[in-house]
Symmetry: C2
Subunit: 251 residues, 2 copies
């Protein structure tokens, strides 16, 4: 099987209230079975999920963490506002559980690729990235007649590996996990553990087509290797990939 | 930028001593800048990194862990033989640090996609997957005149996310980590943390073209989005992605 991945060029700077699906539909015509992968920042900007540090008053806890880790106390306050818990604080990074239940650095709060000239703005994750994906999918369907899979991504670090990879924080019309447990391999041997995080692999594939200075938040994935994971129903979303706290061995 | 990913069809069952690069070169003609992605099992089989459980005598520790977790004590013994430490044992899985320094379930020891009819064989990771990748690359260069990037992968679980994604366990001719720290984003803002695990994203992309019952261990990645990460030198390998134990916050 095969697929191709292509970064969409020419998307303008997006601001709160912009019709993101409309801007995408002007530049790409997805066919049935395609997946559109969006870096969360463009979704967050369109949804106004941006905070100005000038408007933030740090609590004593934020001030203390900021002093310990050489960070801006207002930035730390925004991270705490987006978190339900801080798992670790070390080397200038807070590893947090976000309000969605994702575990990642700084609760997904980031200043890079904020608006041009907006030096004190930070971008948050969408409030409900699966809902964002569903809304974008419905709007794309109404504009183009096709409801592609929609995937919203962020770059997450990993506990035991250097660097970040893009993973799914929201999706609609994509089967997020492909469960082979109880099915058989090429020799007819039962597979006991094989459970593939398709949405995360799609996110990683899309990221390869971008540069971090290229302003290419939207990537099209096309081909049967992708289409087999696209569903008519919006499905369980990326929320299905979160490991529940009571199954977490590393907290 | 763009790339495409294509699973290579028709590779025969591979056994110890087979010329894996030769079998690949008969089926695909990589061009400069391409990456060939190999599921580690096909590499391990060619290298004879297979053990028969009938030949394994479990130690008391293996027998105890096996009894606690409902596993075959001989399988557990093989896992312990491949490990320098066991980080967690729970829910039928041993989370181990392998002799290479990778943290993964069961030290990468797996029975699925072992030889047809070889019910008691388990497959190990290559002894030195980066060396395996370098050797395959050199052999492909001598056969085809082109030295593609070579990536050897395994499916790893993640601490806080369900399911597995393919990651790099070995590579040659691929820049494993793309370091944007100190460089700037599209607005000229300095990036403080952006450090992309390219080899892992390539691994994940390739896995999308496979089915777990399809006997398609080899995937070709082609296009400028991939070629920009291929180097003339074999480079640091996937070993560069391991997070050293003294930087590990979750052990």
């Amino acid at each position: 099987m095969r697929f191709e991945a292509l970064a969409i060029e020419g998307l303008p700077e997006v601001a709160a209230g912009d019709d993101l699906a409309g801007l995408i539909a002007e530049r790409v015509a997805p066919v049935s079975g395609d997946v559109l992968v969006l870096a969360h920042k463009v979704v967050s900007k369109a949804e106004g999920r941006v905070r100005r540090l000038a408007d933030v008053s740090p609590t004593p806890r934020a001030a203390e963490l900021a002093a310990q880790h050489g960070k801006d106390p207002r930035h730390v306050q925004v991270v705490l506002d987006e978190s339900v818990s801080v798992l670790r604080a070390a080397r200038g990074v807070l590893i947090c559980e976000t309000r969605h239940g994702f575990v990642c650095a700084n609760a997904g709060v980031d200043a890079s690729n904020a608006r041009r000239g907006a030096a004190d703005e930070v971008i948050l994750l969408p409030v409900d990235p699966d809902a964002s994906a569903r809304h974008l999918r419905a709007r794309l369907r109404s504009l183009t007649g096709v409801g592609p899979g929609v995937l919203i991504t962020d770059s997450f670090g990993r506990a035991w590996r250097h660097g970040q990879v893009d993973v799914a924080v929201g999706c609609a019309g994509i089967i997020p996990l492909d469960d082979w447990r109880g099915r058989t391999d090429a020799s007819g041997r039962e597979l006991h553990a094989t459970w593939i995080a398709i949405a995360d692999e799609l996110a990683a594939a899309a990221d390869l087509t971008r540069t971090k200075d290229g302003a290419q938040p939207v990537v099209l994935l096309h081909g049967e290797a992708v289409a087999r994971h696209v569903s008519e129903a919006d499905g369980a979303g990326a929320a299905a990939i979160r490991r529940p706290k009571d199954e977490d061995l590393f907290r």
